[in-house]
């Protein structure tokens, strides 16, 4: 029996990327991993709250972590930006002075205290960890020999000095288990441009198009993603750039994994 986890879905999977949210929930249920999702969870700041106010960004994330601490020791999220923001908060709040200042704010609004004990994990790293991977090995069936391009994006890896885990090879490990033919991507940690979608649209467009183009070049009908923001950005740019060529489908790795589970 696996220890219960706290599941942090993130805003996007809960609102406009429900397919990823449903896949994540189903995988956890199939593997019999008890999870709790706190209704109090707020947005992590979406990568932009720190642009408005750094201390409020820390406070909002510390509040989420504090609620999570009441229900478990491990928080798992399927969104790379949430993962990065929460990991940055946890890293910076190791500083006691800063943590006291943030906790004073949480106390003033009646939120629980953040103790700094919870471990933050990305869904990809969690599912690829040895104990969960052995559960998956027992349950996967029907290999699907289809070419897949594994696209990691940036926030699951960078900045590595503050992130708790290195995701190298995890997607390859999980997708190979499901029988997919995983092609090596030139730079799997390149940016999809989501965070510049409104402010730097041409860069965002070029970056996400480059990912689609590489998949076409490598004859991959599927691009597997680990972050709902990447899937959304690449897919919406594909829809806007009307082309007669058949473009690859963008599928969260959780959905690919789910189709292979018994």
């Amino acid at each position: 029996m696996i220890d219960p986890i706290v599941f942090f879905p993130g805003c996007m999977p809960a609102s406009i990327a429900r397919h990823q949210y449903r896949a994540e929930q189903k995988i956890l249920k199939k593997l019999d991993i008890p999870y709790h999702e706190c209704p109090e969870f707020s947005c992590c700041g979406g990568g932009h709250l720190q642009d408005a106010d750094d201390i409020k960004f820390l406070a909002l994330n510390a509040r989420n972590l504090a609620y999570a601490e009441q229900h478990g020791d491990v928080l798992v999220t399927g969104c790379s930006t949430c993962y990065r923001n929460m990991a940055e908060t946890a890293f910076r709040l190791q500083n006691e002075r800063l943590r006291t200042a943030v906790n004073a704010r949480l106390d003033a609004v009646g939120a629980p205290e953040y103790q700094g004990k919870i471990r933050i994990r990305h869904m990809l790293n969690f599912l690829a960890s040895p104990e969960i991977f052995s559960l998956l090995e027992e349950q996967t069936s029907s290999p699907r020999p289809v070419n897949v391009l594994p696209f990691y994006g940036c926030h699951i890896k960078r900045p590595s000095s503050i992130l708790p885990e290195n995701p190298d090879g995890n997607m390859e490990k999980l997708l190979t288990l499901c029988g997919y033919l995983v092609r090596p991507m030139r730079d799997p940690y390149t940016c999809c441009g989501f965070h510049g979608e409104i402010t730097a649209p041409s860069v965002s467009q070029a970056l996400s198009a480059a990912v689609s183009e590489e998949a076409v070049e490598q004859q991959c009908p599927i691009i597997a993603t680990v972050c709902p923001l990447c899937s959304f950005n690449i897919e919406s740019h594909q829809m806007r750039n009307k082309t007669k060529r058949k473009m690859p489908e963008i599928i969260p790795f959780e959905e690919l994994l789910l189709t292979s589970l018994k």
Binding site: C11, A14, C43, G47, K56, R105, H155, R158
Partner: protein
């Protein structure tokens, strides 16, 4: 045994198979190749101590200072070595740095003091920047948007903006507001900086200052839209932010472009609100010291 594939002037790669200790520095290896194998091999170096920033190259796509990098620090036994600005190589590992140097000329990169020394002990981190160009030539925004002055310039702008002795903050901010929102927040600059500086944080600091300007730009407006969405829902609500940014009619095409996602059963129409929303609102309303 290590295999090196080194970029040469006519576009081909020289392959060397060498038996070398993993703790050997990349720069030492370059020198050994030049003295022992090929005297025409060109690369630049200076201080050998990570101070001058002249020996930056790309190894398997990752930008590093050759003098500070050990051969054994890479997982792969095959190292593909290329000039830092691989879009515009000159000779072997030397490349064109004009774009990087020009990026500093878009704003006054010196202090405009008021003549009086300040009492504050101001020693900004940014002064440790060695202008090696690593952040600039690994920035995806720079590679697709040549007008973007890039991470190192932002670091320097932030250094002057936060200096209490500077007197031209307003005009600096006016320059900066057109720059910082070109960043796509991929954190490559922070990841690769050989001096462990944080240009991404500098960009965030400047963006925070931009919010104090009266004049709105799409960047400042976007930040405010997300802030207000979190205030109202505790979450980011895509319809709310689109309407906030582009108005009711202006946002319609954007919202309608989401229809295929609706048909794919990916969209929840009723907005989700976080429980205990009052706590979130009070956190966002709090005054800073």
């Amino acid at each position: 045994m290590i295999i090196l594939r080194i970029y040469r002037r006519d576009g081909h790669y020289d392959v060397h198979q060498l038996d070398i200790k993993p703790e050997t520095k990349l720069l030492t290896l370059f020198e050994q190749i030049r003295t022992g194998i090929d005297p025409t091999f060109a690369f630049s170096s200076g201080c050998r101590h990570g101070i001058c920033g002249s020996c930056a190259v790309k190894v398997n796509g990752k930008p590093v200072l050759a003098c500070k990098t050990e051969i054994g620090s890479f997982r792969s036994g095959v190292l593909r070595i290329e000039p830092l600005n691989s879009e515009s190589p000159k000779i072997d590992l030397l490349s064109d740095f004009d774009g990087f140097y020009r990026s500093f000329s878009s704003f006054p990169d010196f202090l405009e003091p008021n003549g009086r020394p300040t009492k504050e002990n101001f020693l900004p981190e940014a002064t440790r920047c060695i202008q090696c160009g690593i952040c600039y030539y690994s920035c995806p925004s720079v590679s697709y948007d040549k007008e973007f002055s890039g991470p190192a310039a932002a670091l320097k702008q932030d250094r002057f903006l936060s200096d209490p002795a500077d007197t031209i903050t307003e005009s600096r901010l006016e320059e900066a507001v057109g720059e910082v929102y070109r960043c796509v927040k991929c954190y490559r600059c922070t990841e690769y900086c050989p001096r462990s500086l944080d240009p991404e944080k500098a960009i965030e600091n400047i963006r925070t200052r931009c919010l104090t300007r009266k004049e709105e730009t799409i960047g400042t407006f976007h930040t405010k839209a997300l802030f207000d969405s979190i205030y109202h829902y505790g979450k980011i609500n895509e319809t709310f932010t689109a309407r906030y940014l582009f108005g009711f009619w202006g946002s319609l095409p954007l919202i309608l472009s989401g229809l295929p996602f609706l048909f794919k059963r990916r969209v929840r129409l009723r907005p989700v609100k976080a429980a205990n929303l009052k706590e979130i609102r009070r956190l966002l309303e709090m005054e800073n010291d």
